[in-house]
Symmetry: C2
């Protein structure tokens, strides 16, 4: 077998959820959009349900429908993207709760599904999703008379706790919602870590569950072990890989391993990333190609059948830094070709 093995530790996922839940006095939902940040929304959600999660968030109705089939009728499934044209049957049949983002969506929802649960997303400064302040002022009374299940907003700078945008969005959210008799939610992972002012009535962590920053204490959830296809001797002065970008500065041993950017190992990480032979750090050399990566294993005494790219020795965020991106993108890029092994006690 030449496909790499992605191991997903469902116990670590639950440990992370419990740790974030313990930071607040309020209920904790779980965000499983983008197929559970690339790790499998169905398996992640079922594990989280066993730990007590009863509310999930997804990005779009189609994700909600697939999740409903995985988790059964009881959990609440909230849809950040709201109620789009063409979504009505899915919202209704799959019991999804749209977070309505605009007057258009509110009108669509009230006309199509007048008795169906909904939430409201307010924009508090990110200017991405949600009602503007003036729009909310115009419709709040009508909307509130229909008993929304949740009023929420999203922080633009929660990964930088000292950013002045955070207290500014908090103040706006309070100004727009203080005194209403509806549960409120503002905090994802970053918001949870900023303290109780941000917690309101429900938190909704995403990346922290999956072992990513800004939740520094997260338990790693993923490990990635990549088979070695072959090992060769490369003489000093020889080149390796596309466009000859790596030139051997000494007589070297080079391993070719079976994964590449088609597996989500972002091409930009190139030679900035390492892989591990047990404890020994081995530099990636040359370009990451579609299905293959070459590694300098000159300093590894014995031959290894696999090398590890993610795991205890290297986190999603370290790999992200090598690729010039954030851990979130490393997770959601993890590819379809891996053999996925779900670990649970």
């Amino acid at each position: 077998m030449a496909t790499a093995t992605l191991t997903i530790d469902l116990d670590a996922l639950i440990t992370n959820w419990r740790a974030l839940d313990a930071r607040t006095e309020v209920p904790t939902a779980a965000v499983v959009k983008a197929d559970g940040y690339g790790l499998g929304a169905d398996r992640a959600a079922r594990a989280l349900m066993r730990a007590g999660v009863d509310t999930f968030f997804v990005a779009v109705a189609e994700e909600g429908a697939a999740l409903r089939e995985a988790v059964g009728p009881s959990p609440i499934i909230n849809v950040f993207g709201g109620h789009m044209s063409g979504d009505t049957d899915m919202m209704s049949d799959m019991m999804l709760t749209p977070m309505l983002n605009s007057i258009d969506q509110i009108v669509r929802h009230f006309e199509a599904l007048p008795e169906h649960p909904f939430g409201i997303q307010l924009d508090t400064g990110m200017n991405r999703l949600g009602l503007e302040e003036a729009e909310w002022a115009a419709v709040a009374e009508t909307v509130l008379s229909r008993s929304p299940k949740l009023v929420m907003s999203h922080l633009a700078c929660a990964d930088e706790p000292e950013h002045p945008m955070n207290p500014q969005q908090l103040a706006t959210f309070k100004r727009l919602t203080d005194g209403i008799n509806v549960p409120r939610s503002l905090a994802a992972t970053g918001g949870i870590l900023m303290g109780s002012d941000y917690h309101f009535d429900l938190t909704r962590p995403g990346v922290g569950l999956y072992g990513g920053m800004p939740f520094v204490e997260a338990t790693p959830v993923t490990s990635l072990s990549i088979p070695v296809i072959q090992i060769r001797d490369v003489a000093e002065g020889e080149t390796v890989g596309y466009s000859n970008t790596w030139i051997a500065e000494r007589d070297s041993r080079v391993a070719t391993i079976s994964a590449g950017y088609a597996d989500g190992l972002i091409r930009a990480m190139g030679a900035n990333v390492d892989v591990f032979a047990n404890e020994i750090r081995c530099p990636v050399i040359g370009r990451v190609s579609m299905d293959l990566i070459t590694v300098d294993v000159t300093d590894v005494p014995e031959e290894h059948k696999t090398l590890e790219l993610l795991g205890l020795h290297q986190s999603v965020d370290t790999v992200a830094e090598a690729a010039g991106t954030i851990g979130y993108e490393i997770l959601t890029s993890l590819g379809a070709r891996y053999y996925r092994r779900y670990k649970s006690a």
Copy 2:
């Protein structure tokens, strides 16, 4: 519906294969590894078979097994990664032809499946996959007595036709294989374009089929249309998106569209890329987030329900340039959340 629609033009795929086939006097295979460069190996291969393709290449045995189920018993399926430990049953049951890369693989194959077809991959300087010259010298006679189906190698710099590595690898390949009575293959898309010296007995285009460089005359195969979730007014001086990276220099209209880096729209493209409202170019603003992208639509007179990121107005390679990568990675990153529409006359 808030998921974006990825349209894959199977007729364009066939047009590209025919155009590349017409550049040579020899048979033309098709590379459909990495799930057909992200576009669906099963659909791509079945379309290509109708155009006359009878030989496919994949990266690993697992891909070959899935492809065999899609295309039935007749086509040849060659596996670049060769015969790995644990692959034997799949090779045999699914009638896959491994390109053996090392002495280890040759021994494994001859012991496990002595009568089963195989090919040989030689390293001619890329130092990634294939037998080294000295290894080939040691085993060539034995191997050739077993009648390999193909002897192949891969060019490291074929996307740069003037690179001295190309004639050097060509000379090495000829030195290692001239006079043998076995079909030979050296050229993928780039090699086809470099002329008949590189064509030998079989070419095996990949990226050119799917509309990517270096096949400049390729017909575009993909288009990507992304639904608008909402449009808002943003006053001069307001910020948009994560970390407030975009600040409105004028009163603006901002559309939030439903796709992001979890859909393979690489985060690094950020504000370097545009989307299109029919003919009108609209700049992406702020950061690409996981499920959402914000777009400046101030100069678009009417409201559009969707905006186009890939298609006639913008190629895979233009998007790649914005993201600091190559078209190949844009293709293989295209995500699982899209509604995929296959177009064929």
